[in-house]
Amino acid sequence: MDSGALDPTLTRRDLLKAAGIATIAVTGPQLATRPAEAQPKRGGTLRTTVIADPVTGFDPHQTISFLTMVPLSFAYSRLVKVKAGPDVKPMTYPVEADLAESWTQPNETTYIFKLRKGVRWHPKPPVNGRELTSDDVKYTYERFLSMKNNGNRPVLESVDKIETPDKYTVKFVLKEPNAWFVDMLASTSTWIIAKECVEKFGDLKKAESVVGTGPWMLERWEPNVRLYYTRNPNYFVPGLPNADNVDVLIDKDPSSRLAAFLAGKLDFGPEYQHVIRRLDLAVAKQRRPNLQTVEYAWFTSGSTGFKVDKAPFNDVKVRRALSRAVSLAEIFESNAFSQGHYVPNPAVPAAAAEWSIPIDQLGPEGRKLYEFSTAEAKRLLAEAGHANGFKTEVEAPGTGYGPDFLDFVQITVKNWKAAGIDADLKLKEYGAFISSTIYGKFDHMFLGLRGAWTDPESYFYRWFMPGQPLNVWNINDPKLIEMIKLQRRTFDVAKRKQIVYDIQRYLAENAYFGVDGSVKVVSAWEPHIKNYMPNNGFDHGGRMMAAWIDK
């Protein structure tokens, strides 16, 4: 069995190992002082929070929102998952088996998955604890690919057909080689769903239709108040989950979430991904002694959109000036989450630690993009024939992304202006912004956020391949296309990494995007929560299932 990490014995050994690896990152007395033999305790309730209701419904094939995917992560499983636990360093995403027992790849385009035997669905109507079979997998992914409004469809786009040679075997045949296929299967939109639910409810939007094979069952959703989960008695990993219940408070107000955390009503940090704002860190450490914390960069970052096939941004010098005019330091200085702690992002965000190229390995021109200099920006503009700068217009959502985003917008626009790029700010309502601007329906520029994906490839594939809806830049560069296609066919990880680095160098050298950075966030959890480690990604359930409460 190669799913050893789910075996409790190994988990404890992993914990020991983690104490060695992660001492720099992890603070708190537990890892250093507690004897590793401590037996996990069963029972209790894990108390956490989300920042809004699953407003888009519970159907994983009809939304890409984290507000849906995070709640689903407690109740569903998938064939393979991103490994979790204290031995997994944040910002790395190793894949391990989940519902699959093992898998093989007989040729470049074929994958065969062997399922665990005896996996049972939640004992809830309409599925009532029947056994999971390969037909469920086939049904799920055929629905995944056929639902017209599934925004995650590109995740499995390369699948040609799915076959079920027997009850416990699933065979995927791809249209073309895709080295990322298993990583894609481990993303958090690929939950295996039950046919009965779709048949009974029409779709999976309702809370009652959340029936999975995951560690907990969704008992109830009280809109605006909480999501409440209870233990799945049938869970396929013996002994897990450790906690009986998960109580997810829904609280939209940051200060009220913080107040709840400081009052000891939450076991995990009050922001998305259990983060605690740097601004509140001192008071949190004082009020919650021995708080455990870990620092890592998250995926989310600002993004600047423009069209490279239209003046003035068809001139690489103007694009370079745009980046050099921006002071990332100033942006992150004022931010409540970062308070000066940030990482600059190449095309693949630094949060994908194994795939993001270090800035100092970029080409000479690419590196310079990250060196803030108003004077250099002015010089570049003058060289491009804009000695007196130019006027333009920038669109941004005025609602939806919160005050930190608006601060980022204000500083960026101010920085540009200082260098001579006088951008008139046009704020749009969030709904209007995401339904038009980010698909390229803008005249000059936009400022938004990026970071919805946890796989590295989407950051260049979906953004820079011609024909992709999010290629707002209208980039159609044969050399780039060739490299992107090549890395998909390269199964050797080290070689693929080199190509991905080359792609990032090429993108930076041509200044095909505006520079941005991500916050180095701090995730926090109470000292009585053991065997837990935060990471990027929506799989909160997967990371919390082996955690236990020492009280």
Binding site: D280, S334, Q410, L425, L427, E429
Partner: protein, 306 residues
């Protein structure tokens, strides 16, 4: 008794005969209505701040002052600085522009619309009046927030759109009151006399109806100013106001003002105080004007235990 309405109306409108007379009157009024005087003082200050913001504000509203991030109020920064190291006092001064502009423009628009609707509906009467009033009924019973949010979502945030949305919202209720005042005026014998003498509709409206509803209009407008400024700040608070970096009080209070409120409370408290003070000023002034212009509410009418 009914005719009493027309007498006081003339008073403030008629040009003063001699300047000292006006000054003396103003002084007397101040003594009699100290609250109103305070209100007037606040309103005048507000208008001055808005008009001379460039001269009064020590810093540009969007300038990040090096080394002055989130400083507490001090002699250099009267209201402290925000997380982007901007001087809050300067931002509050520039914010007055938004409040004053949106306030006066909206009220002007509301008054124009409401007077047109109210007077016409009452004057024409009959079926037209019934139909118009049913529409006004519906408009008034429609939840205000939905209209404004929908309009702003459709038009996009921004000052002009804000003014339009608020004006459309305010006009219905105001027109109802003006219609009432017009109806009362129309019953007066001199209107009938004017009709009998063959005056045209326009002449009757301009010469007889409008002067008599003017007091009502002025009172409504002054009170409305406070309400509009309040509404503007609430909408800015919800993120539908004037876009940053231009400062609006509601916007300063909602965004970063709120997320930094434990660490830099002045970021939220100063614009909050500014909103409250401005609305307070308009309400005080409105109250005093009402007392002066509406004789029925004039003091000294009853002496208890006298």
């Amino acid at each position: 008794m009914a005719k009493a309405v027309e007498i006081p109306v003339r008073e403030p409108i008629a040009p003063p005969l001699r300047v000292p007379n006006a000054a003396v009157r103003l002084g007397r009024l101040t003594l009699r209505k100290p609250l109103g005087a305070i209100g007037a003082l606040i309103v005048v200050t507000l208008i001055l701040l808005a008009a001379f913001a460039d001269q009064i504000a020590p810093y540009p509203y969007d300038e990040s002052i090096a080394g002055a991030r989130m400083k507490a109020p001090s002699a250099q920064f009267w209201m402290g600085t925000d997380n982007l190291a901007r001087d809050i006092w300067s931002r509050v001064v520039y914010g007055a522009r938004i409040s004053v502009t949106v306030g006066f423009a909206t009220v002007a628009l509301v008054t124009l619309l409401a007077t047109a609707i109210g007077v016409t509906s009452a004057y024409v009467g009959g079926t037209v009046d019934i139909v118009v009033q049913r529409i006004v009924d519906a408009w008034m019973s429609f939840p205000a927030l939905v209209i404004v949010l929908s309009l702003l979502a459709a038009l996009g945030p921004g000052m002009l759109n804000l003014i339009l949305a608020l004006a459309i919202l305010g006009a219905a209720g105001t027109s109802r009151v003006i219609r009432g005042a017009t109806l009362a005026t129309l019953q007066h014998p001199y209107v009938e006399a004017a009709r009998a003498l063959g005056s045209g509709h326009l002449r009757i409206i301009v010469r007889h109806v409008l002067p008599n509803v003017l007091a009502t209009i002025i009172i409504l407008a002054t009170v409305a100013l406070g309400t509009v400024i309040l509404a503007e700040s609430a909408l800015s608070f919800l993120g539908f106001g004037v876009p940053p970096p231009y400062p609006s009080w509601g916007g300063m209070l909602s965004g970063s003002g709120r997320s930094f409120m434990y660490h830099a409370p002045w970021m939220a408290l100063c614009p909050g105080a500014a909103i409250s003070l401005a609305v307070f000023g308009f309400n005080m002034l409105g109250d005093a004007l009402r007392d002066v212009l509406d004789p029925r509410l004039r003091g000294a009418g009853v002496r208890m235990r006298g």
